[in-house]
Symmetry: D2
């Protein structure tokens, strides 16, 4: 058994869809418990985020996947408030040796999203976590048109959807969704490989 | 005349002291209006920061200097909430061509503070701002012991003070304080050079 | 008068086309001297790059624009060899207060190109230079289809062209080319604004 | 059995000492094969690095640790030439799922070294590798004076030594050396944990 927790903030709904895609992929690895957790602005009081139940779930997970829109060039403030609350785990290095991964979304193909993934990987390193990237080369290099890693991102998964001003529902590009799903699968597999060893050694 | 606005968040008081040092330096350039603005957690509701008077002050400034502790590997969530509120200025590129700078503080010499300065410079670029770094080589290279740029930071100014658990007051290293002061002077000079030209050309 | 020097490395020819576009834009600002300089592998001996004439040109410029493919997640080694040779200028801060900008190209829309631009801005800060980004929001936000900043990059300009395996000539996307041209114009204007003041003050 | 390969470039000898410390730590984990490989400028011709024997060693390793001075704000050009030669492994994702880590050295406490570690982690992600940070909090937080992570670095290990102009030998700070040694131990342990599982599953 291995457990994967996906925690994210979503403003327009796109990052939520990516979180669900990561979860779908992780669930395809048998013996994997998957939990999807959403950070909301309502959980923030005086600039500080708190939710003990969510933190307890994360404390128990083998892998934690972090997701946030790229907003003004970085993680959304609401998600940063959650990450800052992780300082409790930091002082005791409670998340040490858990696996980590990350994903982000914005309205432009590049959209300064790499900076968000860089930050998430720094955060994971501060927590003593082990960073797993998606590892898929753009499938277009091999003549495939399934859109896997169409944006060319390596630290984590990027999604991109055009700005919408007509109030219609968020819809993530099918290639980006598939990339996120494969990432969830990879993370779950890695969690098994990494955590079983605790028993075997 | 040129105006420099310094906006910061401070948890333990160190970043506040650095903000004041930057302000002191800027005031040494005659004809400079300096304003020091503090972001607080109380200004954040449902994860969003709002303060129209502060934003109006920033809209009028020639240079904006951003300061935040490096907390969990990045800007504090409270400061990110303020930065996210800058999206209003972003859509209209209202801060375009203003000068920008940044400073940060943490308890370790490196302390992943460079990542915070990288992020602040990305944010400034998103806003169409012009980034001015401190430009001081470590003075120790030249046999001086005044502590200027003792940490070796180039995108912006770093301060470092040991963790305190005895409840005593925050106190920033004198070298870091001097580095911040010189940075304020440099930013104010640059603001004059850059903004006078608007009249002269 | 103001002078803009554009220095780049290009493997497949795409970055060269972007360099020329930046130059074209800079030339549209009257009174601007523009020089385009290419770094080649042949200038590197025992891992070190040297070309005194090129360095002298850069030492005289008001603005230096740096361009490199994003190769294996960063600037190409050949371009880094040139940048490392800039340590001579660094020790004397000879490039201090010059304007700086950057551009990069790769085969994917994101392609980890932001990391390259981050590095170039760190390098410029080490040299005491002032960083100017392109400042164009994606024109698609405003219903335009000219492709300006279609990739969503803010620290510098990104170009993207699909991998070619048929040996045909490099061809940069017309939107990326226009973005680079506008960037050259902006940099030249800024060089005038910033350098005239030296006389006026 | 697990194998750890450490590959580095060193100009002044400090990074070499850090490489040896990482190796010493890795050797303390029984059943670990450790190889230390040095990149030199002489291996670079026309800007390109080549050494087939070194590449074959890396292809066989379970973990690869990358080390470079931070020079002009990033990895030394000579080391980048080696990294660029890794594009052959990249196209076939030959290093996929190997463990990766990194270390760097400069003459200032911060010295923009975090940017170097960020780049190395991006490179590792491009190669599909799994990034392991050192995970040690600064031991000074706990009242220890052994210097472990005295600089406060989390993505990888940093070393710092003052500029020397008297021609004396390089000598890395004892705390930084110990930090590097513990990192080598951690990486070797992780290589066992991660690679044994290949047999067990």
């Amino acid at each position: 058994m291995a457990s994967v927790a996906i925690i994210y903030f979503s403003g327009s709904g796109h990052t939520q869809q990516m979180a669900e895609a990561v979860a779908d992929g992780a669930r395809q690895v048998s013996g994997t418990t998957v939990q999807v957790l959403r950070v909301t602005g309502e959980q923030i009081s005086n600039g500080r985020w708190q939710d003990d139940a969510v933190m307890e779930t994360l404390n128990q997970a083998d892998a934690i996947v972090f997701g946030s829109p790229t907003y003004m060039g970085g993680v959304a403030a609401q998600f940063k408030a959650f990450l800052d609350a992780g300082s409790a785990a930091w002082f005791s290095q409670q998340w040490k040796d858990k696996l980590a991964g990350g994903f982000t979304h914005s309205s432009s193909p590049s959209g300064d999203k790499q900076g968000t993934l860089i930050y998430l990987s720094i955060y994971a390193a501060q927590q003593g976590m082990v960073w797993i990237g998606p590892s898929d080369l753009p499938s277009a290099y091999f003549g495939k048109d399934d859109g896997v890693n169409r944006l060319g991102s390596f630290l984590g998964v990027m999604g991109q959807s055009p700005l919408k001003t007509d109030g219609s529902d968020a819809e993530v590009d099918s290639g980006d969704r598939l990339t996120a799903e494969k990432y969830g699968y990879r993370l779950a597999e890695a969690a098994h490989r990494w955590s079983k060893q605790l028993v075997a050694s």
